[in-house]
Amino acid sequence: MTLDPYRRTRRRLLLAPTTLTLLLFMVLPMLLMGWMSLLAPDTYGGVRWKEWSLDAYVQFLYERDLDDSLTLNSDYLQIFGRSFLLAGFATVVTLLIGFPTALYIALKEEKTRQRLILLISIPFWTNLLVRTYAWMLLLRNGGLIDSSLSALGLSQGTLDVLYTPTAVAIGFVYSFLPFMVLPIYTSLEKMDWRLVEAAFDLGANRWLALRRVILPLAMPGIVAGCLLVFIPAIGSYFIPELLGGGKSLMIGNLIQNQFGTARNWPFGAALSFMLLALVLLVMWIYTRRFQRPPGE
């Protein structure tokens, strides 16, 4: 390959459009966002470029009283806590449904497997906003679930589930289920099933084979699936906006609000930055723990 003296130049030219686009329009904006979170807000949105201020981060924990003293305010912490709980709950439930589903698919014949995986991936590629809207049709009072329950005599009065945290949880599990099934299926598909046969031959029952052989081997897929569910769920904006009411406000709604009615850009930037830091922290732990270079 030393025959080609232009190799490096050509490589740089080939990489330039992608690298420049990502540096300029992805990395730089994030840095700018971090910077703007340290500035003072302007009255009608925007920032005062020359006025440094930690107010955005102070505001997250404290409230400024009329006499300028700070009192602890847990409102925003509660919103972060709720986001964690809802995203965590969604992760656990998708895992409980997703693992058996992936196992079911992995145990089928080759042709059937391909079709079932296509069935799992179709919702993944269709518009999430529209599918969330479909849940509004299902969950609202007088909607399909409500009216079938009353028709069967299973409920008195109305369902009252739309615009509650329960509806948000249902929406999360629904939206992110494919993100759990696909990586788990990938790790199960790559698995050497003779190991499970060996476990059976050695007298293991199904439960023991599952716990001691299949689960450990599927672990990379399970962990990847949990991340793929948790990260978009915690930053989700329109699912809580449409399915949850005022009482299920999440981080995403709080951030959007700073650019809408609240008009506090530095606070919005600070909240986004905290969310970003959180996601990067989770990813860092994940790569440290699960993607060690071989031989370490």
């Binding site: 390959m1 025959l3 050509r10 490589r11 990489l15 459009p17 992608t18 690298t19 686009t21 990502l22 329009f25 992805m26 904006p29 994030m30 700018l32 703007m36 449904i97 058996p100 589903t101 196992l103 079911y104 145990l107 089928k108 014949e109 296509l118 919702p123 590629w125 269709t126 518009n127 999430l128 906003l129 529209v130 599918r131 809207y133 849940w135 509004m136 049709l137 299902l138 609202r140 007088g142 909607g143 599990v173 289920l177 494919p178 199904r206 978009p232 930053g235 989700s236 904006y237 449409l242 995403g252 951030i255 959007q256 650019f259 930037a269 986004s272 969310l275 970003l276 996601v279 990813m283």
Partner: protein, 262 residues
Amino acid sequence: MQASNTLWRFRGVTPTAMLAFVYLYLPIVVLVVLSFNANRIATLWTGFSFDWYLKVMDNDNILRATKNSLIIACGATVLATSFATMAALAMAGKRFRGQAFINAMLGLPLLVPEIVTAVASLLFFLALGLDLGLLTVLIAHTVFCIPFAYLPIRARLEGLDPRLAEAAADLYAGPFATFRRVTLPLILPGVLSGAMLAFIVSLDDFVITFFVAGAGATTLPVYIFGLIRMGITPEVNAVSALMLLVSIAFVALSYWMGQRKS
């Protein structure tokens, strides 16, 4: 293979899987069925009708939003796919310094929550003094489409025999001729599926567009969101069902193309 042995039947697996499939498809089916509902009250079935679809086709705002969506999706697909193809070619060669950094950067749009990307892009465009409109949406979409276009192309290049390009070089083909006559035809399925993913991801995006679109560049999902917030109506059902059917057709098409290749 394994399924024939009763030992392989784990209790509860089949019902859970069935439940998962019903759960995934119930909302889609309900939405599509209700979009053909004659009744003004969107969730009460009274009879079959195409009226709402005709109303949608007659709505100038929806048509304008669809036009914006298509312009942006086509533009972002062309840009992202060509950038990604070039990058994948460079990344597939010999290892070089900075490769890990570029890989990390390519993962960024997939990893960072959409709302964070949306806020960062909005602040960046405003700080630059750019007017929010088609251009800002196009830039933002190109950014997050790049990784979706990149991954299938990179995977295709991975399976490519490097000796083919070497043979072309031995036969006095220049780098460009080698690419056009040897590499490109071989990676074309990857390029096509990358382009399709980019197109569908751009067409479906809501959160980032919602932040950077401004008033003039409303796309279809942003317009639908506005309608939903105003209330559940049969028109929303119809336009939503159309959106779903287009996506499903696209996925099915790309699956069918993949099947034909192998």
